[in-house]
Amino acid sequence: MNELTEISPELSFDKEKAMAKSFSKRFQWEMILIGVGQATIWLSLWPLVLNSYLSLWVGFFIASLCACFAYLPSHEAQHGNYSRGNPKRRWLDAFVGHFTLITLMYPYQILRVTHMKHHAYTNDPVKDPDYLNAHSKSLLKVIKNASDGSSTAYEKYLDVFENDKAFINTFKKAIPVAMLYRSLLLVLVVIFPLETFLLWWLPAKIGTVYTTVFFSYFPHRGASIGRYKDTSFWSHWMPRYINHSMQLHVIHHLHPNIGHYDEPKAIEALKPFLIAREVPGADQIPDRVTYNPLIKF
């Protein structure tokens, strides 16, 4: 019944795919604005704080907000959702992917290749790089793992995927970027100790914890292996704006090329398919997804 077996001609996989594709065409300008915008704001905090135009504590608050907005624009780039297969626009994926992650201090290419593995092996205890995040015993444990760096210690996957040359090469090429971030942090902390701590290191930690909790833990918590089983719909007291609409993460796992801000509409359209495939929580999807974050001018 699940996976790709046909249920009825109206709810066939081909029809699901065609419908999903119709939501996978729009240029993701909002995400570019958020990614480039937050990184630019974050960079501007440094001269503003160092020249006393802004208090360090206000800078810390703004930097933490920027860090919480930093991952998702890179995530769209990881899936090529800016270039949409157009070779002339691939630079846009790379630019946004790298630039937005400055705030979080992560190399884009490492996140990209490990995220692709996460999609390929979701919830696999050995091969899913995000397994530890989604299958920790408690939320507190997830926060602890994200804080001390255990959940993003991706080096061990060099052994797991040692036969995947593309993975190994891309990963190794990104190591100098990781070293550069680390070196820059250590140089800056000697010159501007409290500013480096409150404008970069601590906000990056807060952003990483936020991302791990809402992007990895809640959507995959308790889920099993399989295309229609590895992610759940979930509900939360906070409006979708605040958790980046991650209650809808399941649609991203099924159709990663649907742009983030088109997911609510896609879910409304694909709801019958999701119920038929017994996606966890699909029967509770409202006909109209509320708190819709689509920006319209």
Partner: protein
């Protein structure tokens, strides 16, 4: 020759990264806090203690294999 040196550096960072991070990063932050706090006013060699504390935390993290 150069590659061997690089490999040695990488290995050292992999083995002792937590200690150096504690020493340099935490040490610098402790030093800045101690210098600004009136509580520590009058303690001589305050920078030494700040970096020693950072290094100690890093060393403990290296031995434990985790920060938290």
């Amino acid at each position: 020759m150069f590659e061997a040196l690089l490999e040695k550096i990488f290995n050292h960072i992999a083995d002792w990264g937590k200690f150096w991070f504690g020493f340099i990063f935490l040490g610098s932050i402790f030093n800045a806090i101690f210098e600004q706090s009136s509580f520590f006013y009058g303690i001589s060699n305050i920078s030494f203690w700040a970096f020693a504390l950072g290094g100690l935390i890093g060393l403990i993290a290296k031995i434990r294999g985790a920060w938290l």
